[in-house]
């Protein structure tokens, strides 16, 4: 629920048809300049895959989008809500779901409780409503039968699918994926990617930090390559993979595609 006041703010108008609007974003970790003058616009329903070597700032970038990291300079508007300091944080986080590399499920709760928790406490749903919704999304990620188990009883792939369901239970308008498959055993990667493809085909706005290039080719509207805190290249996948403009991109792609 956006505050009615935000309708009058110019930022809203600037980003009226955009899901995310980023202009000249800068961020430092102490003296380390981790994000340098990042500008990026994401339309509603757009799917973006960000790749780049480790330490290039891609995780930090998407953690800025839901305020897990704060930027020091620049303008960031998410789903019409400007993010400055701590203002707008909770509002944004309600509309932006996030999936982490290490799942981060709550180990002291069952799968069902993990999923129903935020709808109950943040969205103020009744327990029955929230659990019905949780079961619906667990079905969507194809593990309704695990609802009463604890996270530690599940495989990595199952845990990550629960994490996706948990984020979806807040019915977010934007989903962020921070290397969702890089902590998984190879045979479990596909089951998670299948769920993500399904989600993408359903029209969700998605920003994924990922090195799964098959997935990227299939769903991405736009590829982004980052290095040393800068967006080096931004192109549709067809162009990105066949004729990358930048030498650094070409080198990186050759390394992860092994060809």
């Amino acid at each position: 629920m956006a505050d009615p006041d935000t309708n009058n703010k110019p930022a809203k108008n600037a980003a009226r048809d955009g899901a995310i609007h980023m202009r000249h974003l800068d961020k430092w970790f102490g003296a380390f300049h981790v994000l340098k003058d990042i500008s990026l616009s994401v339309r509603k329903g757009e799917k973006i895959v960000i790749c780049g070597p480790s330490g290039s700032g891609k995780s930090t970038l998407i953690r800025c989008i839901n305020g897990l990291e704060t930027h020091e300079k620049g303008e960031l508007v998410v789903d019409g809500i400007p993010l400055t300091g701590s203002a707008g944080l909770d509002e944004v986080r309600r509309e932006v779901g996030m999936v982490f590399q290490s799942f981060n499920l709550f180990p002291h709760m069952t799968v069902l409780q993990n999923c129903a928790l935020a709808p109950i406490w943040v969205r103020r749903k009744t327990r029955a409503e929230a659990e019905a919704r949780a079961l619906r999304y667990l079905e969507r990620v194809r593990i309704p039968d695990q609802a009463h188990k604890y996270p530690e009883q599940l495989s990595g792939g199952q845990q990550q699918r629960v994490a996706i369901a948990r984020a979806l239970c807040m019915e977010p308008r934007i989903m962020l994926f921070d290397e969702p498959t890089s902590a998984l055993d190879p045979e479990m990667i596909k089951e998670v990617l299948d769920v993500m493809v399904d989600l993408a085909e359903g029209g969700m706005t998605m920003i994924c930090v990922s090195h799964e290039m098959g997935f990227a080719r299939r769903v991405a509207d736009k590829m982004i390559f980052m290095d040393e805190g800068v967006i080096l290249e931004e192109a549709p996948p067809s162009q990105f993979f066949s004729k990358p403009k930048h030498e650094r991109t070409r080198l990186f792609l050759s390394q992860i595609l092994h060809d």
Binding site: N66, G67, L68, D90, R93, R94, V96, G97, M98, F100, S102, N104, L105, F106, P107, H108, M109, T110, Q113, L117, A118, W121, V122, Y150, E152, A163, R166, A167, M170
Partner: protein
């Protein structure tokens, strides 16, 4: 690991005789190496030297009946239990008026009846139970023990004593220290600089002074600062002192648990739109407190035993009242002291052992079944 091998041995040897099993067991557990065998033999020797003498003193040579010191002046006299039986009431209630003792008993009963279902996980209505323990019971407790209103005669706290005072100080101290300690630990990890500094100062102040000093301050020095007649009850002052003192220790125990929770748990809770308090209460604390159960119970036990220090400021807890009665000429025998202290040790040990066992049970339960806040 030993349990597993025990089970294996048991299965394999089910048909063979008990004796063979016993030998097998002893070889694995007691005589597996020269070092182990030497330790086993010295332990047996030590037990042989102490246990028979202890049993003799506690039971066989002890006096069990009698009205006065005459009963405990035999040759080779053991423990003088009639002394304990005779003084039992004072040891439990202190100088609480005899005709009002039912009030203390009712408090004990309410405490037991309130705490027991709370401690057994299978009993439902935990919410109401907690409400009773946290809100209704303390009020009832104060009303029953102190009286002075609604028909109950007033009993001033200087007449309370014995086990009553021990349990009261330990109970109130621990009940106040846990929530206070949690808040202090959260404050110490807060991003608000002033709050964090205040919490650090508070914790380091109380950890830096001995409990005896706290009690002296509470009972002797504090009244000097108050205007004439404005001072309040000595027991209450000591209770507050003990609670603040022990909350500082609790805070550090809880902080250890908070630090063990991975950053990812905070991230996940934040990303779901939870604010600080929801994240802390629903996600962080349940996990952090579970980790530090041993530390919390350690603090509980330490405080329980530290209550004996209130003797210094003229409050008579269990140990204090026993020591007071050791001076009774009617029971002056060579064994009275030993008996009194043995009795005090036994009671203290029973309570502490109970707490320890319960914490082990709780750890096992939480370890196998990670959740019950459904």
């Amino acid at each position: 690991m030993t349990n597993l091998s025990d089970a294996k041995i048991l299965r394999r040897d089910r048909q063979t005789s008990i004796l063979a099993y016993g030998w097998h067991w002893a070889r694995i557990h007691l005589f597996s190496s020269w070092m182990n065998a030497a330790l086993t033999l010295s332990a047996i020797a030590l037990l042989w030297l102490t246990i028979p003498a202890l049993i003799d003193w506690l039971i066989i040579s002890a006096s069990w009946t009698g009205e006065s010191r005459e009963a405990c002046l035999n040759e080779n006299q053991g423990a003088c239990w009639p002394f304990i039986f005779e003084k039992w009431e004072q040891f439990i209630y202190g100088r609480y008026p005899q005709e009002e003792i039912w009030r203390v008993n009712l408090v004990f009963l309410l405490a037991f009846g309130g705490a027991l279902p709370m401690l057994i996980p299978a009993v439902p209505w935990k919410g109401w139970n907690a409400l009773f323990l946290v809100v209704i019971f303390p009020i009832l407790c104060l009303y029953l023990l102190s009286g002075g209103v609604m028909g109950l005669p007033y009993v001033e706290s200087s007449r309370w004593g014995g086990l009553l005072v021990t349990l009261l100080i330990a109970g109130v101290g621990n009940a106040a220290a846990l929530p206070l300690g949690i808040l202090l630990a959260l404050g110490r990890r807060s991003e608000m600089r002033i709050l964090r500094t205040l919490c650090v100062l508070f914790i380091e102040f109380w950890r830096g002074i001995p409990l005896i000093t706290v009690l002296f301050m509470a009972s002797v020095m504090l009244p000097l600062f108050f205007a004439e007649g404005a001072s309040f009850d000595k027991l209450l002052r000591c209770l507050i002192g003990v609670a603040l003192f022990s909350s500082a220790y609790m805070a550090e125990v809880v902080r250890g648990g908070l630090q063990a929770i991975p950053q990812g748990q905070h991230d996940a809770a934040r990303a779901l739109g939870m604010g600080y308090w929801r994240m802390t209460i629903l996600i962080i604390l349940p996990q952090a407190l579970k980790i530090v159960i041993p530390g919390i119970v350690n603090s509980f036990i330490a405080l329980f035993k530290d209550t004996t220090l209130v003797l210094i400021v003229g409050l008579f807890d269990l140990l204090g009242i026993i020591q007071l009665h050791l001076a009774d000429p009617n029971w002056s025998t060579p064994q009275t002291h030993y008996t009194g202290y043995a009795f005090a040790a036994l009671l203290f040990w029973l309570f502490c052992f109970g707490m320890s066992r319960y914490s082990q049970y709780m750890e096992r339960r939480l370890g196998t079944e990670p959740s019950h806040n459904g």
